[in-house]
């Protein structure tokens, strides 16, 4: 316990340095700014803003990224409450009751409850991350290459099973991502692989280029095709920001339950945050004495999913920081950013760079605080932003992304790669392939290959090692079980229902 406090104190010491507070504030601000733009989800926001953090020192960069993450998420909620355009899956549920509340003139209450719920969930989850971080790092010591490989397989399968759409197609896209990650020099021999004799490809395909292409450019091309729907933007002034005492009492239970549900589901590898918000909403509806209010502007219907999704967002740092395995696309982006700063995510971060590890955990809490502080007064600004027509918005985003990609390595070739991945992403969307698993596969690829090679070498070429080593065998067993369950027709229907609701 005293360890925990000492560690947190160290973390806050780092995070509370004026520069780092500034980075956190700046991150939360730009994160919200971009996240609030309709049609741009959390992943796209982070992908777009990655380059601006590259010039900072590692601790500052990661703190700023964490700020961007929370900002983007909160921005997404704002869009779904005010305009009923959920920027991404996690805020779909928020839109159900949140937008109804907005139509009844209670947008202010919905927004502030979302912020308060998120903040509360953030506080709890921060302590949880700090408390669980150390013991889980110990667990990592039991892991050899075979276990790591199996754990990554399990993580990928989790991501597939919990995502929407066809399981088979998602697995195929993951393998495509793994294959893409192998372009470039071989880790051990340095031989150029699948580079088509292009010198620029010798270092592999840049992670930021893929992310920007698939999530930024492809989304824009896609959005251009959609008919300009008469956006339901609120023209009424958002007034009465503070929730009433009754609102607070009504939602307190929902916030607490949402936090618990979210914290638990966030730790699981896979799309924790999405499932968390769905689960919390459904749970709240079941618990309620007046379930008919849900969908018609029930404040619990905003409080529960928002708390859950923020708690899950936070606890999903646990697998990343302790085992070095990103559980979802956002965390995959974080890994990308860490690698660019020369940090290999994993258990060694905690022991070798404690100020980074604990500083980041403390900054999560700070980031949440920033959201409450900056967003409540700035709601008016975000509403104005929502009125910028898309025809002006998207060229600005393209210019911004181009400069961002170019600035990473000062390489025009990177911009070209991003354009190519824009086309690939557009094609994937046209054929109902989810792009997020591809990115996850791409990020995990080098780690998986390295551990696979080592495990095979240690086992003297014996493939059965993955099943005969107990931990590895159990992990793979769970993965296979999940795949079978998800592929069964009955479960498939239920999954579809969950995502339709």
């Amino acid at each position: 316990m005293s360890d925990l406090l000492a560690n947190l104190a160290l973390g806050f010491g780092v995070a509370a340095q004026p520069y780092n507070i500034l980075f956190c504030l700046l991150g939360a601000l730009v994160g919200t700014l971009v996240g609030v733009l309709p049609g741009i989800g959390t992943v796209a926001t982070i992908a777009m803003l990655l380059p601006i953090t590259f010039g900072l020192p590692p601790v500052g960069a990661l703190i700023m990224l964490a700020g961007i993450y929370y900002g983007a998420q909160y921005g997404g909620s704002t869009t779904s409450i005010l305009v009923n355009i959920p920027g991404e899956a996690t805020s779909v549920v928020t839109a159900l009751d949140g937008h109804q509340m907005a139509r009844q003139g209670r947008a202010g209450a919905a927004l502030s409850i979302a912020a308060i719920g998120s903040f509360f969930a953030g506080c709890v989850a921060t302590v949880l991350v700090a408390a669980l971080g150390a013991p889980l790092t110990g667990l990592a010591l039991l892991f050899g290459p075979a276990e790591y490989f199996s754990l990554m397989v399990l993580g990928l399968i989790f991501a597939v099973v919990l995502a929407k759409g066809s399981v088979l197609k998602a697995v195929a896209v993951i393998v495509l991502g793994l294959l893409l990650s192998m372009v470039g020099s071989d880790l051990e021999t340095g031989a150029g692989r699948m580079t088509f004799d292009l010198a620029e490809l010798a270092d592999g395909i840049g992670f930021a280029n893929i992310a920007m292409g698939v999530f930024g450019f492809a989304e824009i091309i896609r959005n251009l095709e959609l008919p300009e729907e008469s956006r339901d933007v609120l023209h009424a002034k958002v007034s009465g920001l503070m929730p009433t005492r009754k609102d607070l009492i009504d939602s307190s239970g929902a916030i607490a339950r949402g936090t618990i549900v979210g914290s638990l589901l966030g730790i699981l590898p896979g799309g924790g945050a999405v499932i968390a918000s769905f689960a919390a909403y459904t749970f709240e509806k079941k618990m309620s004495k007046t379930p008919q209010r849900f969908g018609n502007g029930a404040i619990e219907g905003v409080a529960a999913p928002e708390s859950a999704n923020n708690a899950a967002a936070q606890t999903s740092f646990i697998p990343l920081l302790t085992l070095g395995i990103p559980p979802n696309a956002v965390m995959a982006l974080m890994v990308g950013a860490m690698t660019i700063h020369g940090i290999v995510p994993g258990p060694q971060v905690m022991t070798k760079q404690p100020e980074l590890f604990w500083g980041m955990i403390a900054s999560m809490w700070l980031g949440n605080l920033m959201l409450v502080i900056i967003n409540l007064p700035l709601v008016g600004v975000w509403v104005t932003l929502l009125r910028v027509p898309y025809r002006l918005l998207y060229p600005s985003i393209i210019v911004f992304c181009c400069i961002g990609v170019y600035s990473i390595n000062n390489s025009p070739f990177d911009v070209t790669i991003a354009a190519i991945f824009g086309v690939i992403g557009y094609w994937l969307l046209k054929h109902d392939f989810e792009p997020a698993p591809m990115l996850l596969g791409f990020v995990l690829g080098p780690l998986m290959e390295e551990n696979l090679r080592r495990a095979m070498l240690i086992a003297r070429g014996d493939w059965t090692v993955f099943f005969t080593r107990p931990i590895s065998g159990v992990l793979l067993g769970i993965a296979i079980f999940l795949l079978i369950v998800a592929a069964m027709p009955k479960m498939r229907r239920r999954r579809d229902e969950v995502f339709v609701e």
Binding site: R193, I398, H431, D432
Partner: protein
Amino acid sequence: MSESVSPSPKGRGFSFSIRSPRDFWGGLVLVAVAILAIWASRDLPGQRGFAFGPGTAPRLFAGLLVVLGTLVALVGLVTDGPRIEKYKIRGPVLVIAAILGFAAMIRPVGLVIASYVTFMVAILGSREMRVLESIIAAAVMTAFCVFLFTYLLNLPFQLWPRF
């Protein structure tokens, strides 16, 4: 390519039509990509003894992708699914042209002109473009980017063409 595919007749009777063209063609393209990867890694040495060579993993995963792509295509053949949405020309072509244009311009003409032209080309991708508004917006955005990237973030960009 997709035009020749007839819409799926609700699964009635026995027919050879492709019932889910999105999955079918999607799967086939994945197979093609995998074969390209196998071809591209043909010269890489493979497994030696117990040790993987540089070519082992690419061929392993490309092989897996061939299997998975085939499965996706087969599933597309036998289960009903939506048709492929028509590919639009204007938006994608102009957006991609704008990005490629940026890549080509940034070195020779510098940030200011590259940003401005990229914005103007990209905005043509939308049908709702208005001339005067676009010219002003492009200038504002260019100024904002120059301010953000060169002054605020202090990145070493060349602003104007070098003669």
